[in-house]
C-alpha cells in the first residue's frame, strides 16, 4: 500500500511528500461528499417538518427559513383527529415484546444448535435460515386468513407473534456463530462443578455472548419497528403502528407534508441514535454472522 518513495531519486522527494497529502485530501473530500449525500434526505425531512406550510410549497425551495413547530404540534395534537401517540405506543409495545421473545427463544435455539450434535443439526440450521429469504408479501394472504380465523386482526398480539417469527431465523443464525466461539471447556468445568445444563446456559454461556445478544436485539427491534407490509394488513386502527400511520399519506390530499415529515422524524430518530452507538457487531448481525 505504501508509496515507493525510498527507491525514487532524491529530486522527487519534495513531490513525493506532497503527493500523499493531496491523496489524503482527495480521499477525505470524496468521503465527505458520500456522507453528505447520505444525510441530505434526512436533512430535508427535518427541515420540511420545521417549515411553515407556505415554505414547504415554495418554488424555488427555501433554504433559509424561520423554523416553526406547527407541523409537530398538528401531527401530535390536531391532525385528522387521529392521535399519533397511539400509533407510537403500539410501535413501542409491539417492537419491545417481539424483540424480547425473538431474542429469548432465539438464544435458546442457537445454543442448542451450537452445542448439541445430532443428525439433523445442519439441515435444521439451514432450514431455519431459509425462512429469512421468503418475501413477506408471499405471506400476506395466508397470514391474514389465519389471524382472521382466530380473531386476532387489529390486535397487537398478531404483530408481536409475526415479528417474533420473522426475527427468529436471523437471531438464531447470528447467535449460533457467537456460541460456537465459546470454548467448551468452560462449560464442561461448570458441569463438573454440579451445574445443570440449563444453569450452564444461563450463567456461563449467555453472559459470554452479551455483545451478540445486544446486536441481535437491536437489529430485531429495527426490523420490527420499520416493518410496514404485514402491519398494514393485520391492523386497522387500534393496533396500528407508525408505518401504518405514514402509509395513510396521500399525495392527492397534498397538504400534510410537514406533519408526515414530523412523524417520520420520530420514526427514524431513535433508530439513528442506536445505530450510531452500536456499530461494533452491526455487520455480523446484518450478514447472519457470515462477515465480521
Amino acid at each position: 500500500m505504501s508509496t515507493t518513495a525510498a527507491t525514487e531519486p532524491a529530486g522527487a522527494a519534495a513531490g513525493a511528500a506532497a503527493l500523499p497529502r493531496l491523496r489524503s485530501i482527495l480521499i477525505l473530500g470524496t468521503a465527505c461528499l458520500v456522507t453528505g449525500i447520505s444525510l441530505i434526505p434526512l436533512y430535508i425531512m427535518i427541515t420540511t417538518a420545521l417549515k411553515s406550510e407556505s415554505d414547504i410549497f415554495a418554488w424555488p425551495p427555501v433554504w433559509a427559513f424561520e423554523p416553526t413547530f406547527q407541523s409537530f404540534y398538528n401531527a401530535f395534537f390536531l391532525f385528522g383527529g387521529q392521535n399519533v401517540l397511539v400509533f407510537l405506543f403500539n410501535s413501542v409495545l409491539i417492537t419491545g415484546a417481539s424483540t424480547a421473545f425473538a431474542v429469548t427463544l432465539g438464544a435458546m435455539a442457537a445454543y442448542g444448535l451450537a452445542r448439541f450434535k445430532f443428525a439433523a443439526n445442519k439441515h435444521l440450521a439451514f432450514f431455519i435460515l431459509s425462512t429469512r429469504f421468503a418475501p413477506p408479501v408471499a405471506f400476506i394472504v395466508p397470514i391474514y386468513l389465519m389471524f382472521n380465523a382466530v380473531g386476532l386482526i387489529d390486535s397487537q398480539l398478531a404483530l408481536i407473534i409475526f415479528y417474533t417469527s420473522m426475527n427468529l431465523s436471523f437471531v438464531i443464525w447470528v447467535l449460533r456463530s457467537f456460541f460456537v466461539e465459546i470454548p467448551v471447556e468452560l462449560e464442561e468445568a461448570a458441569l463438573v462443578d454440579g451445574y445443570t445444563r440449563w444453569q450452564v446456559f444461563r450463567r456461563v454461556a449467555l453472559p459470554l455472548v452479551k455483545p451478540g445478544l445486544a446486536a441481535t436485539a437491536i437489529l430485531s427491534a429495527v426490523f420490527s419497528w420499520n416493518e410496514f407490509l404485514l402491519a398494514s394488513i393485520l391492523t386497522q386502527r387500534d393496533a396500528a403502528t407508525i408505518p401504518v400511520y405514514l402509509s395513510g399519506f396521500s399525495a392527492s390530499m397534498g397538504i400534510a407534508w410537514g406533519e408526515y415529515m414530523a412523524v417520520g422524524f420520530f420514526a427514524v430518530a431513535p433508530i439513528m441514535i442506536f445505530t450510531l452507538v452500536l456499530q461494533r457487531h452491526l455487520v455480523r448481525g446484518l450478514t447472519f454472522g457470515a462477515v465480521r
Binding site: 447520505s38 452445542r115 408471499a138 417474533t164 427468529l168
Partner: protein, 292 residues
C-alpha cells in the same frame, strides 16, 4: 447412556420452542398459500371452490403478471448492480488510513436503518415536479424539469435511485468489514511475488473477498426483490405499470381486487423464484468451502 438421553432432552427443550414458532408462522402459511392457490377464493363471494391449476394457468396469460416479473427483474438488476459497484468502491475508499474516515463511515451508513416507508416519503418529496429539491438543482444547472415519477422512462430509475441511496451503504459496510478481516501477510506475499497493485487486486483481494461478495449480493437480491415500500409511497405501480413490481401486483390482487387464490398463486411463484436464486448462491458458497 443416561447422560446421552439427558443431553438430547436438553437440546430438544432448547430448540423446539423456536422451531414451533417458525413452523406455525412461516412454514404452515407457505403450505396454506399452496392450498389457497388451488382454489377460487375471494372475500365475501361465497365458499372457496377447488380450481386445480387454473390460477397458475391464468398467470401465464396475464400480461400484467408478465410485466410485473420483468419490472421486478429490471429493478433488482439495476439496483443491485449499481449498489454493488458503488458500495464496493467506497469500501476501498473508507479502508484507507486517513484521519476522520472512521467517523464519516459511521455517519454514512445511517440510511440502512431508515424506515423504508420514510425513505419513500422523503424521496417522493425530493422528486416532486413542482417544488422538489432535485428539480431545483436541475434547473440551476440550466436543464428542464424532469417528471421523475410520472415519466414512463424515468419512474423506475427514480425508485432505483432511492433504493441505491438506502442500500449502497450496506454493501459498503459489509465489504469494508470483509476487507478489514483480510490478513496483512497475503499482501506481503503478493509484494514479494512482484505483483503490482492491479494484479494484487484481481488475483489476491478479489478471490479472497469472493464469499463476502456472494453473501452481500445474495442479500441485496433477496431484499430488493421484496421491496414494496418505495412503490407504495412514490408511484403506486404507475405510470402505466412501469413500476409495478411483483410484490405490488400481489398486494393489489389480494387486498384490492380481493382475489386471494390468484394472489396466493403469485406468492408460490415468488417463493419458487427466490428459492432457485438462493440455491444457486448457496451451492456456490458450499462449493468453495468444499475446496478449501
Amino acid at each position: 447412556m443416561n447422560l446421552h438421553r439427558e443431553k438430547r432432552r436438553t437440546a430438544f427443550g432448547l430448540i423446539s420452542p423456536a422451531v414451533a414458532v417458525i413452523v406455525a408462522i412461516n412454514i404452515f402459511p407457505i403450505l396454506f398459500a399452496l392450498y389457497i392457490s388451488l382454489h377460487f377464493w375471494s372475500f365475501g363471494r361465497g365458499e372457496p371452490r377447488f380450481a386445480g391449476f387454473f390460477n397458475y394457468e391464468e398467470l401465464f396469460y396475464d400480461d400484467r403478471f408478465i410485466n410485473a416479473i420483468l419490472t421486478s427483474g429490471k429493478f433488482v438488476f439495476l439496483a443491485v448492480a449499481i449498489e454493488f459497484l458503488i458500495g464496493f468502491g467506497l469500501a476501498f475508499l473508507f479502508n484507507q488510513k486517513v484521519r476522520g474516515l472512521v467517523t464519516l463511515r459511521k455517519i454514512a451508513i445511517l440510511p440502512i436503518m431508515v424506515m423504508p416507508l420514510v425513505a419513500g416519503l422523503v424521496w417522493f418529496y425530493l422528486f416532486n415536479e413542482n417544488f422538489g429539491a432535485i428539480n431545483w438543482f436541475i434547473t440551476i444547472l440550466g436543464f428542464d424539469k424532469v417528471a421523475f415519477l410520472t415519466d414512463l422512462d424515468v419512474a423506475l430509475w427514480s425508485l432505483v435511485a432511492a433504493d441505491v441511496w438506502q442500500w449502497t451503504p450496506f454493501v459498503m459496510l459489509v465489504m469494508f468489514a470483509a476487507l478489514q478481516s483480510l490478513p496483512e501477510y497475503v499482501y506481503e506475499a503478493a509484494r514479494m511475488d512482484g505483483l503490482d497493485r492491479w494484479q494484487t487486486f484481481w488475483r489476491v483481494t478479489v478471490p479472497m473477498l469472493k464469499p463476502s461478495i456472494m453473501i452481500v449480493v445474495l442479500l441485496r437480491i433477496v431484499d430488493s426483490f421484496k421491496m414494496i415500500e418505495l412503490v407504495f409511497m412514490m408511484t403506486k405501480g404507475g405510470p402505466a405499470g412501469r413500476t409495478e413490481v411483483l410484490p405490488w401486483y400481489l398486494y393489489v390482487t389480494g387486498f384490492q381486487s380481493m382475489d386471494l387464490g390468484y394472489a396466493a398463486a403469485m406468492a408460490v411463484v415468488m417463493l419458487i423464484i427466490i428459492t432457485l436464486v438462493t440455491q444457486i448462491f448457496v451451492r456456490g458458497l458450499e462449493y468453495r468451502e468444499g475446496q478449501e
